[in-house]
C-alpha cells in the first residue's frame, strides 16, 4: 500500500536528520497515529499499542514523547483546537461588524468540523469522555469562544445587563448539540445548522427580529 510506504519507519542510522528533527517528526506521527486510532476505536478503547501501530513507530519512541495515552491525546486536542482557532480568526478578521463576525466564526467552525469528522469526533466527543483532565481542558477550550460573543453586550438596546452566565450557556448549548450530532455520525450535516445557530446566539444580544433577519441572511 502506498500509504504504508510513505509511513514506513525512519531507517535507523545515517538518514541525515538531526535528533531533534527525528523527534519532532515522531511526535507528529504519534499524534496522527492517535487520531487515527481514536477515529477507529474511540479514545477509551485504544491502547498505546494501537497508537504506535498506526504511527508505525516503536513503543520506546512513544514513551520518549509522551508519558501516557492521555498526554498524547491532550497534545492532539491542543493542535486541533489551535487550528480551529486559526481558521475562525482568519474568517472573522476582515469583518468589521460584530453580528457578521459571529456568523463568519460559526460558519468556519461548522465547516471545519464537517470537513474532518474524525478530528471533530476527537475534539467534541472523545474529549468529553476521556477522563477529568481532558474534560477540564475541553471546558477551558470552549470558554475561548466567549470573546467572540461578549462584544454583543454593547449592542443591546436594553439597559439591563444579561446574566453573567449567558455566554457559557450559549456556548454550552451549541457544544452539546454539535457533540451529539457528531456522536450520531452526522458531522457532515453541521453546516446546515448555521442559520439556527446564528439566530440562537444573536437573540439575547440583538433581540429576536434582528437575530432572525441575520439568520436568514446566513442561509
Amino acid at each position: 500500500m502506498q500509504d504504508e510506504e510513505e509511513l514506513g519507519p525512519l531507517p535507523p542510522g545515517r538518514h541525515g536528520f538531526s535528533r531533534e528533527q527525528v523527534e519532532a517528526h515522531q511526535r507528529e506521527r504519534l499524534i496522527a497515529g492517535l487520531a487515527e486510532a481514536v477515529a477507529e476505536h474511540g479514545y477509551n478503547a485504544i491502547t498505546i499499542g494501537h497508537i504506535t501501530r498506526a504511527a508505525k513507530v516503536s513503543r520506546r519512541a512513544f514513551y520518549e514523547q509522551f508519558e501516557s495515552k492521555e498526554e498524547c491525546f491532550l497534545a492532539a486536542f491542543e493542535i486541533v483546537i489551535a487550528h480551529m482557532g486559526e481558521l475562525i480568526g482568519e474568517a472573522i478578521a476582515p469583518i468589521p461588524d460584530w453580528p457578521h463576525r459571529v456568523t463568519a466564526g460559526l460558519r468556519a467552525l461548522l465547516g471545519f468540523l464537517a470537513s474532518d469528522p474524525a478530528l471533530a469526533r476527537l475534539c467534541l466527543v472523545d474529549s468529553l469522555t476521556a477522563g477529568p483532565a481532558i474534560t477540564a481542558r475541553f471546558g477551558e477550550a470552549i470558554a475561548g469562544f466567549r470573546p467572540l460573543l461578549e462584544p454583543g453586550r454593547e449592542e443591546r438596546r436594553s439597559p439591563r445587563p444579561l446574566p453573567d452566565s449567558t455566554e457559557d450557556s450559549l456556548i454550552g448549548a451549541l457544544a452539546t448539540l454539535i457533540s451529539r450530532s457528531i456522536a450520531a455520525g452526522e458531522a457532515e450535516r453541521l453546516p446546515q445548522l448555521l442559520p439556527d445557530f446564528v439566530e440562537f446566539v444573536l437573540m439575547p444580544y440583538l433581540g429576536p427580529d434582528e437575530a432572525h433577519r441575520l439568520a436568514r441572511e446566513a442561509r
Binding site: N44, V125, L128, T129, A130, G131, P132, T135, A136, G139, S158, R160, P163, D164, S165, T166, D168, S169, L170, G172, A173, L174, A175, T176, L177, R180, A183, A184, L193, P195, D196, F197, E199, F200, M203, P204, G207, P208, H212, A215
Partner: protein
C-alpha cells in the same frame, strides 16, 4: 429482618453502589468487583441482575432518568399558571433532583458520556424528554413556528451543560443559585426577555426553600 436481601433490594443496592463508584472513579475505573464489594452481594447475585457492568450502568441511567422525567413532567403539569410558569417549575424540579443526589446525577449526566455508544445514545434520547415541555412555548410567540427547528434541543443542551459544569467541579449545591438565569435563558426565545425575567424573578429563591 431477613438476612437474605430480597432481589429488588439487591438490585437497588447494586445500582446504588454503581452510582457512587462511577461518580467517584469514572466509568472506566469502576469494575464489577468493586461494585459487588461495595453492594455487599456476591458475583452470582450481580450476574443474576445484570449481564455486565455496561448493562448495570445503563439500568442505572434508565431508572434515574425515568424518575427524573416523571418528576419534571409532574411539576410541569401541576404548576398553576401559563406555560412560562410550568416550564420554570420543571427546571426547578430538575435542579432540585440533581442537588438532592449529586452522585447519581454525576454518574448519569457526566460519566455516561464515557460509557460507550449505548450510554451516549441514552443521553441523547434523554435530552429529547425536554421537547414536550418546551415546544408549547412556541404558541406564545407570534413567530413561534419560524423559530429555529433545533431550538428545543439547543436549550435542553444548554440546561444540561449548566448542570454538567457544576457537577464536574463538585459544586452541585450551587445549582439553585443559577436557576433564575437558567429560567431566563430557556424562556427568553419564546416569550421575550422581559417576560422571561419576570417569571425568573418569581421563582427566585424558590429552589432553595421547601415548597
Amino acid at each position: 429482618m431477613s438476612r437474605v436481601a430480597a432481589p429488588a433490594d439487591q438490585r437497588r443496592r447494586i445500582l446504588r453502589a454503581a452510582a457512587a463508584l462511577v461518580a467517584k472513579r469514572g466509568y472506566q475505573d469502576t469494575t464489577t468487583e468493586l461494585i459487588v464489594r461495595r453492594a455487599k452481594v456476591g458475583y452470582a447475585t450481580f450476574y443474576k441482575h445484570f449481564a455486565d457492568k455496561e448493562e448495570c450502568l445503563l439500568a442505572l441511567f434508565d431508572e434515574a432518568w425515568g424518575r427524573t422525567e416523571a418528576a419534571i413532567n409532574e411539576a410541569y403539569e401541576e404548576q398553576p399558571g401559563a406555560w412560562p410558569q410550568k416550564a420554570a417549575a420543571a427546571l426547578r424540579t430538575l435542579f432540585e433532583l440533581i442537588v438532592a443526589d449529586p452522585l447519581l446525577a454525576k454518574a448519569c449526566l457526566v460519566e455516561t458520556l464515557s460509557a460507550g455508544p449505548a450510554a451516549v445514545a441514552r443521553y441523547g434520547a434523554g435530552l429529547k424528554a425536554f421537547d414536550p415541555l418546551l415546544r408549547p412555548g412556541r404558541e406564545l410567540n407570534p413567530r413561534g413556528e419560524q423559530l429555529p427547528a433545533t431550538l428545543e434541543d439547543t436549550l435542553a443542551g444548554g440546561v444540561l451543560w449548566v448542570a454538567y459544569q457544576r457537577l464536574i467541579v463538585g459544586e452541585a449545591e450551587k445549582l439553585p443559585q443559577l436557576l433564575p438565569e437558567t429560567i431566563e435563558f430557556v424562556l427568553s426565545p419564546y416569550v421575550g426577555e422581559e417576560e422571561a425575567v419576570r417569571v425568573a424573578t418569581e421563582f427566585l429563591g424558590s429552589a432553595t426553600e421547601p415548597a
